[in-house]
């Protein structure tokens, strides 16, 4: 599995140096930016798992940068830990309202930094035995805690085509017992359980070393934004909104369990790597593909393949996310001298002309034509 990427945005080289030293013995990839403008560009380019963001910076300060991150569909779900020399109540409330996962007050110790980051990103020591990444074909257990049996059945139905077992309960106490016997691979819990039961349950899990790394996803009515923000700030690994969309449920759970979902997009046909882009490219799908394409192209070259077909034939509307995704695949191919072809429908071909980045793309109508063109 690719090590998690952490982006540090701070105008101080001293802070960057301290962050580098803190993570020196962990398997993480670090990226650095010196102000908010550079930070936004780096976030879009690197799609990190976490951003550590300073407040006071030249050119664009941390608050403005945070607001821009939260208003960008592709970047808004990247958790942010604010690094600030200002610990006053007003300042903390201000940044909490915009939506940070946590904040660290300067001066800070290395341990305080690692503690905060480890609540968001799984940190593994360098040299630790590699854990075989689970993929989407592996069995998993999902524990659902909801006081409405219909919701549990709804989730069970949506996941029936997966190898995942759904265990349901309407009580947090029973959920604790279930976890005590055998830890699930993920927990889905209704945020509308009375007396903030979901938040308390999360806190319980996180305070126990045996359960602290179980991903917990909140279930919430689509319009309950405040409840969702509270959950995100508390450290939930994701939110699934009701009414439940099967694709969203699957993606959120797969992401929370850190599953290798690349099989959904990557296959091999006649010694050619096929990258099949789904009809709807959500920010999380785009992020996922962009994160794995480097490793996948390395793998294919390692196994002797040098041709790739990017199949976007299911896409009928090009948005900036799709353009960025296409560019990242092309860049990965060019870096390794991989020959590539793009397969798309007529509507895609027409719309591609409108974007500077894709106007010169040669688009083939089907894989046969693309294969013949190699």
């Amino acid at each position: 599995m690719t090590p998690p990427k952490i982006l540090s945005v701070d105008d101080s080289k001293m802070i960057h140096s301290l962050i580098g030293k803190a993570f020196n013995s962990y398997n993480v990839q670090l990226a650095f930016a010196s102000n908010g403008v550079e930070g936004l560009a780096a976030a879009a380019r690197e799609m990190p798992e976490l951003i550590i963001l300073d407040v006071t910076m030249p050119v664009m300060d941390g608050v403005e940068c945070l607001m821009k991150l939260k208003s960008d569909a592709a970047l808004k779900d990247i958790p942010v830990i604010m690094l600030t020399a200002e610990a006053g109540k007003e300042n903390v409330l201000k940044i909490a309202k915009i939506g940070v996962r946590d904040y660290i007050v300067k001066p800070f110790t290395e341990q305080a930094l690692l503690d905060r980051v480890s609540r968001v990103v799984e940190l593994k020591q360098k040299g630790a035995a590699p854990v075989k990444a689970k993929n989407i074909d592996d069995p998993a257990t999902v524990l659902v805690v909801d006081d409405k049996p219909a919701i549990i059945e709804n989730i069970r139905g949506h996941l029936s085509s997966t190898p995942w077992k759904v265990v349901g309960t309407d009580q947090c106490a029973e959920a604790s017992q279930i976890i005590g016997k055998e830890a699930p691979d993920a927990v889905v819990i209704s945020l509308s359980l009375p007396n903030k039961a979901a938040l308390n349950f999360l806190h319980l899990l996180r305070s126990n070393p045996k359960t602290q790394s179980i991903p917990v996803v909140g279930l919430s009515v689509k319009t309950a934004v405040e409840e969702q923000n509270e959950a995100k700030n508390a450290g939930f690994n994701g939110i699934i909104t009701k009414p439940i969309d099967a694709d969203e449920l699957y993606e959120r759970l797969a992401k929370s369990m850190n599953l290798d979902t690349s099989k959904r997009y990557f296959s091999v046909d006649q010694s050619v790597q096929i990258v099949k882009v789904p009809k709807t490219v959500t920010p999380s799908i785009a992020s996922e593909l962009q994160q794995v394409i480097g490793a996948k192209t390395n793998e294919m070259v390692d196994s002797g393949m040098d041709r790739l077909i990017l199949d976007v034939s299911d896409i009928s509307k090009i948005e900036i996310l799709v353009v960025k995704l296409i560019l990242s695949v092309i860049t990965a191919c060019k870096a390794l001298d991989i020959k590539f072809r793009v397969v798309g429908n007529q509507e895609f071909t027409k719309q591609a002309k409108a974007f500077e980045e894709t106007k010169d793309l040669e688009v083939f109508q089907d894989r046969g034509a693309a294969l013949a063109a190699f």
Binding site: A85, E86, K106
Partner: protein
Amino acid sequence: MQIILSFVNKCVSDVFGTMVGLVPAAGSGEEDVARPSRHSGLTGQISLTGKFNGVVYASFTEGLARGIAERIMGSASLSDGEINDVVGELTNMISGNLKSQMCDRGFNCQLSIPTIIRGESIMIDAKDAPLSIRNTYNFSELNEALIVQVFARLDQ
């Protein structure tokens, strides 16, 4: 003013104790300091604007700045730029913590980004500041001293 001096003392102690592992010995401090003052080395300056309106200066000798920077960065071969950066960030932390204390007491303000001044004879003078404090912080391990000055006014 005593309370602001006590805030500054705590900020300096916390910042250097946490980031450098050295807690300097604070002097007794001065209020209504004689102005101007002259310093040699590096001075970090941060402005505060708002109900607590003024400037914080943290003056390091060259030896102190280099000694502190080497401890933090873990390197003995630092450029002037890297040392400037450390001085700026430490001044930022002292000022930020002072700002937090003042904001929590109703004196809201904003911080500027730090400015670093280097020279053999840096003169600091805030002529009209109704509030002026200065204290010296001795780092016995380094045989050097830091001087922190705050010139400000409080707007109700």
